[in-house]
Amino acid sequence: MAIDPKKHEMPTQAPEVRAHNFKEVALGYSAETAVAEAARCLNCKNQPCVQGCPVNVHIPEFIAKIKTGDFEGAYQEISLSSSLPAVCGRVCPQESQCESKCTLGIKFEPVGIGRLERFVADYHNENCKEAPVAPAPNGHRVAIVGSGPSGLTCAGDLAKKGYKVSVFEALHTAGGVLVYGIPEFRLPKAIVAKEVEGLKALGVDVEPNVVIGKTLTIDELFEEGYEAVFVGSGAGLPNFMNIPGEAYKGVYSANEFLTRSNLMKAYQDSPITPIMKGGKVAVVGGGNVAMDAARTALRLGAEHVYIVYRRSMEELPARKEEVEHAIEEGIDFQLLNNPVEILGYNNPENPRDPMNGFVTGMKCIKMELGEPDAKGRRRPMPIEGSEFVLDVDTVVMAIGTSPNPLIKATTKGLEVNNHGGIIVNENGLTSRENVYAGGDAVTGAATVISAMGAGKVAAKAIDEALSAK
């Protein structure tokens, strides 16, 4: 049988429909499509795809089980390496990870590994009603700071070994970026909630509304009898560009814009937490965060949404599928442009004019790509005299984050690098005894799968350290 050169398409909501609702965009494979897509896998001996996955999911093995219709078996195979397949199948940048190494990809489109992973996880969630059983306690207690993918994974792995685990979360809901950042239309919150419920069934205590460093310090956790602490506190404070006009009303960080919409449910018809809806919106940046903010703005009712990015389409760091979806939905990509000033309304005759201080536009300068830098990325250079004004009422800055200094400032002897990331060894151990860390708090903004991987590594190291006691 000749190999189908193309991945099986995953059905999606039509662009003109989904641009106005918050339901999931991609609808997932049916069982038939999954089996047909699995049939494209060559079951390569050297398994190059596995090398591309940061946690080395047993890809050919789980795909082989799909071929035979053993979907639950496929799930169990993935579970050996990943604890959040329903999430990673949806949000991993597969084109630069597992699928980038797929043998099939040399001549054709690679196997749709992410789509298959998602299918298998959704199948399991729908059909497997067996609640996990809490194992016999082993008497050790571990505290986890933050309930993002790194913290949840570390908690789950330890709980399965009988550790008494408490997860402390600063916000009122567990899930980290998975609940406040990534929108519903890309990752339904019910999936995250189910993961958290699963942990609770394993005996994990999830304590919202506790800010470590404020409500309790890491030293106090040890005093209370926790024997090890894992810090998975995430990427931190949003960056701004430091250009004039960023304080005008209508300028948001992507974190604020997405938090208002996702966590605080400002997308609802009569929300309790406000957000600027409608009008013309410019989102500055080119990563997943920028795509999510732009597509959220569209769904909140914006007339027109721009992505303003200083490099070109090729350099966009966002997942390919999100960029494609954004284009289909009508997001206007203003590439090779950089904002230099945000303009605001000011009525000198009436200082009480309610429109005073609201955004009226964003001045940008056109860019061209110069010589490649040390990393091989071509540096964008401004083209003199090319300034123009985009007519917008809302600006969302999605240009990265800097580490939150709270935990470092309240934990003596915890060392951070010159970017503020917590320093760890290959086991996730920090400069403080029995304090481990992982995820964005260590690496800066990265991916769900790498955060999850870091949680796993630390759980293994914590288990080795404590069971040797």
Binding site: P208, V210, V211, E246, G250, E256, T259, M264, G357
Partner: protein, 281 residues
Amino acid sequence: MYKIVRRRELNPTVTQLEIEAPLVAKKAQPGQFIILRVDEDGERIPLTVAGTNPEEGTVKIIFQIVGGTTNLLNHKMEGDSLHDFVGPLGVATHIEGLKKVCIVGGGVGCAIAMPIAQALHAQGCHVTSIIGFRSQDLLILEDEFKACSDTLHVMTDDGSYGRHGNVTVPLKEMLEAGETFDEVITIGPLIMMKFVVLTCKPFNVPCTVSMNPIMIDGTGMCGGCRLTLNQDGKKVTKFACVDGPDFNGYEVDFDEAMSRGRMYADFERHAYEETCNLFNK
């Protein structure tokens, strides 16, 4: 869930609640705040810790009914519970080493200033307090301030109680008469704090202000609470929830903060009317 242990109405628009939150009660220092949600799906609002009872595990908050969420909160009675209550957040007010301080509070800002005045008094500092209100029926915490101040000035805008005039009047008189303070600490409406700073300026008295921008997470994640400081001619962005809420009054860009505070004015008016309708049914 966080239970309301005691409730007291201080005036028709200001209510005091004591809430069971043992971890916060153990930790909170004067100048710090909490964030609460009344119900599931509710808005997160910041309120200052107005006092604690660590033995009982309770935290006191004093709030003014200004909009939807504070209105909702005011309809919670003793025995009811709040869905979320997190803290203590922000940096505590720096009071170490202060020997002579003037506290200037305006309206519900007096509730925020009170624990600072009490802490200063307890460390033996000489405390002069000036508290101001629009009129007598809005007066709060007079007895509490009397108990922790060496001198107390009560001002009303309309002269219905205490002295007629705003809080800068006695401050200016004292400074002009040669009175000195290690620091003036002021908390109240932005416009009032702006004028307190202007009053202090010619006399070179250090002046700390407590900023209250709109917040969401309160942990330094969203950037919504940002404000601009002018430090040595350079504009610096700070986050009130993690760097503040106290700032050097001479550095704060008040006009910008006032403008940003009104971002959702229309929306808020609407939300307030809706909760009022809800409770009038």
